[in-house]
């Protein structure tokens, strides 16, 4: 007879096989990675350019990345997009402080053609005035929409305080959209796209010759010096409020300067972060959503930058619950620093994180992403094996220690909007 009260036996995850892509040197600073073992027709090429927001005014970096496929001497933007469509290809352009990531997706039978088309279009971009105006208008409209969201307002203020006194604190303002010249874009493009390629990642069962062709095409545009990132962040603690009339909810952002994967506390802090706010059963979710019903969701994360990182808690709560939510978050920080983590909870979190790593290592695309996210910090796949060992060995005291060291309310930047 089946006893439904008894949980089935589970098997622990103790061994995950991490596969590294092949590595080809493009020049002394840039590399190409290739994961060829893809058991289907799909393929992806990622291009990393050192053309992030930190290189110039936000608006210039942002417009430049948006206008990469907007025209060359020979082709107008409509023709370019029609040609990409004809190959059944998709692309995606992402921008952060630290760089621009362009991903090209296509069936492997079309990936080389798609790559050549998109790559040469990017390199030969001429930034037609009309296209600039169009994209500026589009971005201005989106920006205005964002300004009416409490989450966006809180995030802006948070950015100002978390990156206090550094160039990263710069925010885009409405007047920036009226203050752009085509020459600025061309200058930025010359410096950071024509000479700024830092990594290429190819995932797909391409032919050796195709890889060589990609390599040869890209090498002239590779970066000629080591990437350098800002490292000395120091958040400005305190409580800040951005008013927004008629809001039904308040956005909350709380955090402080932290670190990235290269720091000795990274692994322990990541595990602490999971217990505290990074999964559905976290302390924050259990208290503020599942017990109090103040919010639809609350979470915390450790966000990395090239040379540093920060911790952030984010939520949108009913406007009448703002103060109570802040108090509960503060309370949870104290509890996790001062009280042992119950054995059952710690072992649950350990299993949960191991399951997440297994998921993040599932399939060639996931494996490539795992690899890229350690390579970016000069680390290799050993990082994950060390992390798995640390998950097995970490104790309740270790977590308390981390919380005592890094989760002090008084060191936090607390921003609310609404």
């Amino acid at each position: 007879m089946l006893d439904r009260k008894i949980a089935p036996l589970t098997k622990k995850i103790d061994n995950i096989e991490f596969i590294c892509p092949r590595e080809l040197q493009l020049n002394s600073h840039a590399k190409l990675f290739w994961m060829s073992d893809v058991p289907n027709q799909t393929s992806r090429i990622d291009l990393f350019f050192d053309a992030g927001l930190r290189q110039d005014r936000n608006i210039i970096a942002s417009l430049c990345s948006s206008l990469l496929l907007s025209g060359t001497q020979e082709k107008k933007s409509t023709q370019i997009h029609n040609e990409i469509d004809a190959l059944g290809a998709y692309f995606d352009i992402g921008l952060s402080h630290e760089g621009v990531l362009i991903s090209i997706f296509a069936l492997k039978s079309n990936i080389s053609e798609s790559f050549k088309l998109i790559y040469s279009t990017i390199q030969d971009a001429v930034f037609p005035e009309k296209e600039i105006i169009e994209v500026v208008n589009e971005k201005r409209d989106k920006f205005k929409i964002n300004l009416s969201k409490v989450g966006f307002l809180a995030q802006r203020e948070f950015q100002k305080k978390i990156f206090f006194n550094t160039p990263y604190k710069e925010l885009t303002e409405l007047e920036d959209f009226d203050n752009i010249s085509r020459e600025d874009l061309i200058k930025f493009h010359n410096k950071h796209f024509k000479n700024g390629l830092s990594r290429i990642a190819v995932t797909g069962a391409l032919l050796e010759d195709e890889i060589n062709e990609i390599k040869d095409l890209c090498t002239p545009n590779c970066i000629s010096k080591k990437l350098s990132y800002y490292t000395n962040f120091d958040n400005k603690p305190g409580v800040y409020h951005i008013d927004k009339t008629n809001a039904l909810q308040s956005a909350i952002r709380i955090g402080r300067t932290m670190f990235n994967k290269t720091h000795e506390d990274f692994m322990d802090f990541s595990i602490l972060n999971t217990v505290f706010g990074d999964y559905f059963g976290s302390r924050l979710m259990k208290n503020i959503r599942e017990d109090k019903g103040f919010t639809y969701g609350i979470g915390s994360a450790l966000a990395e930058t090239g040379g540093s990182g920060y911790f952030i808690i984010g939520s949108e709560v009913g406007i009448q619950h703002k103060e109570a939510s802040l108090q509960e978050i503060q309370k949870e920080m104290k509890i996790i620093a001062e009280n042992p983590i119950p054995e059952a909870e710690l072992s649950l979190v350990k299993n949960y994180i191991l399951g997440q790593i297994l998921k993040l290592a599932d399939g060639p695309y996931a494996m490539m992403d795992l690899y890229l996210s350690v390579d970016a910090y000069g680390l290799n796949m050993d990082f994950y094996n060390t992390y798995i060992n640390r998950i097995h060995s970490i104790t309740s005291e270790d977590i308390n220690k981390m919380a005592n060291k890094h989760l002090n309310w008084d060191s936090m930047t607390v921003v609310t909007s609404g």
């Binding site: 949980a7 589970t10 409209d141 299993n351």
Partner: protein
């Protein structure tokens, strides 16, 4: 990894019009503990798994992503909540509050967040698609009682109303035994009958204006189209890609790039099981009036109906669909959900036939679709006006 996906054939369309938002509220309660298990999430996380769910107007779908060696845990959990829920007052009270905050966060406290709350009742007069999954009004959620919740469960959460799909790398014989063990003893129940009021045929243009604190005037043209099972669904999907999916689509080139009337324009279909909607939506440029856009848009639609858009465009659209499908198919979760969905449509194997249907579409099919659907008497227009100052 493995995925255990469970689709229940119940959505917002199955709700009583005085108790809307129920299917979705119920989805939240499914995580609040079941007859023999205090915490669903805890047990799943212990086994290294994670879970989520979504509710649409048509279905409610639950999934667990779990290491393949622990599939049994997911079956144990999923079967126990199908057998019976814990139904506590506290859980109901809290989830009502959570859903109310979700209502505010996603629908009320966002610019254009309430568009669908207004567009649905404009486009549909009788069919329960006239309300959104979150519900017509916050008060419906506030007033939900434990008795309501229990009868909803009894009616819809039975094996005869569910489709289960398990995917991943595992020994299928032993998993089949486990399915039998956990689900075999749950009473099958009766498949609930559906009797919606039939949506009357639309034969006149409808329009509504609302005023909101938004940064730009916005427009939403909604045309009634076929059910999901009809091949016209595929025509609508492809046609919406052609005119309004991305920057190379026809309306983008004409109305945005050439005439500069809009800052944004898209076309898409809702793809619902019953009569769906074909939507053309966007935001007006600063100095464009609704009337100017309206004239230009209809002129363009008529021109496409007459001239079409050329063979190379159609081939490009099909190529893009092939690529998108190949990428979707390599995700386990996606495939599991799709298998359940096609089974709901009548045959799981439909997942293998879809691509061929798209490839067989001809230019003339698309134009006759447009001729039939994109006409004024079949249209409902919602205009969102910017509040002055």
């Amino acid at each position: 990894m493995a995925v255990v996906n469970t689709l229940y054939d119940v959505g917002a369309r199955d709700e009583n019009e005085d108790k809307t938002g129920f299917a979705h509220l119920f989805e939240h309660l499914m995580f609040g503990g079941s007859a023999h298990i205090e915490s669903f999430d805890k047990e799943l996380q212990k086994a290294g798994g994670e879970s989520n769910a979504f509710t649409s107007n048509d279905i409610t779908n639950y999934y667990e992503i779990i290491p393949a060696q622990n599939i049994q845990t997911a079956l144990w959990l999923e079967s126990d909540r199908m057998l019976s829920l814990a139904f506590t007052d506290k859980s109901l009270e809290v989830q009502k509050n959570v859903v109310i905050e979700e209502f505010k966060q996603r629908y009320l406290n966002q610019p254009y967040g309430d568009v669908w709350l207004n567009l649905r009742p404009l486009a549909y007069e009788q069919h329960p698609y006239r309300w959104a999954t979150i519900g017509k009004d916050i008060s419906h959620i506030e007033n939900a009682t434990i008795q309501d919740v229990k009868s909803f469960f009894k009616k819809f959460y039975t094996p005869s109303n569910a489709i289960l799909c398990i995917s991943g790398k595992f020994d299928s014989d032993s998993v089949k035994e486990q399915i039998e063990l956990y689900f075999g003893s749950i009473p099958g129940g009766l498949k609930p009958a559906r009797h919606f009021p039939a949506e009357p045929h639309q034969n006149e243009f409808k329009s509504k204006s609302i005023k909101r604190d938004v940064p730009a005037n916005a427009f939403y043209y909604a045309f009634k189209m076929s059910t999901r099972k009809s091949t016209a669904y595929y025509l609508g999907d492809l046609f919406s890609d052609a005119i309004g999916k991305d920057s190379s689509s026809i309306l983008n080139i004409k109305l945005k790039k050439e005439l500069e009337l809009v800052s944004e324009i898209n076309a898409f279909i809702t793809g619902s099981l019953d009569e769906g909607l074909f939507i053309i939506g966007g935001k007006l440029s600063e100095n464009t009036s609704f009337d100017t856009l309206d004239k230009a848009l209809w002129k363009e639609i008529e021109s496409i109906k007459k001239k079409g858009f050329g063979k190379s465009k159609l081939n490009a659209l099909k190529n893009k669909i092939s690529t998108a499908k190949a990428f979707q198919d390599q995700g386990l979760l996606n495939r599991s959900m799709n298998l359940c969905y096609f089974e709901l449509l009548g045959d799981a194997n439909g997942i293998n036939e879809e691509e061929a249907i798209y490839q067989s579409i001809e230019h003339g099919d698309l134009l006759s679709f447009a001729e039939q659907i994109l006409v004024k008497t079949n249209c409902s227009l919602l205009k969102v006006h910017q509040n002055a100052g």
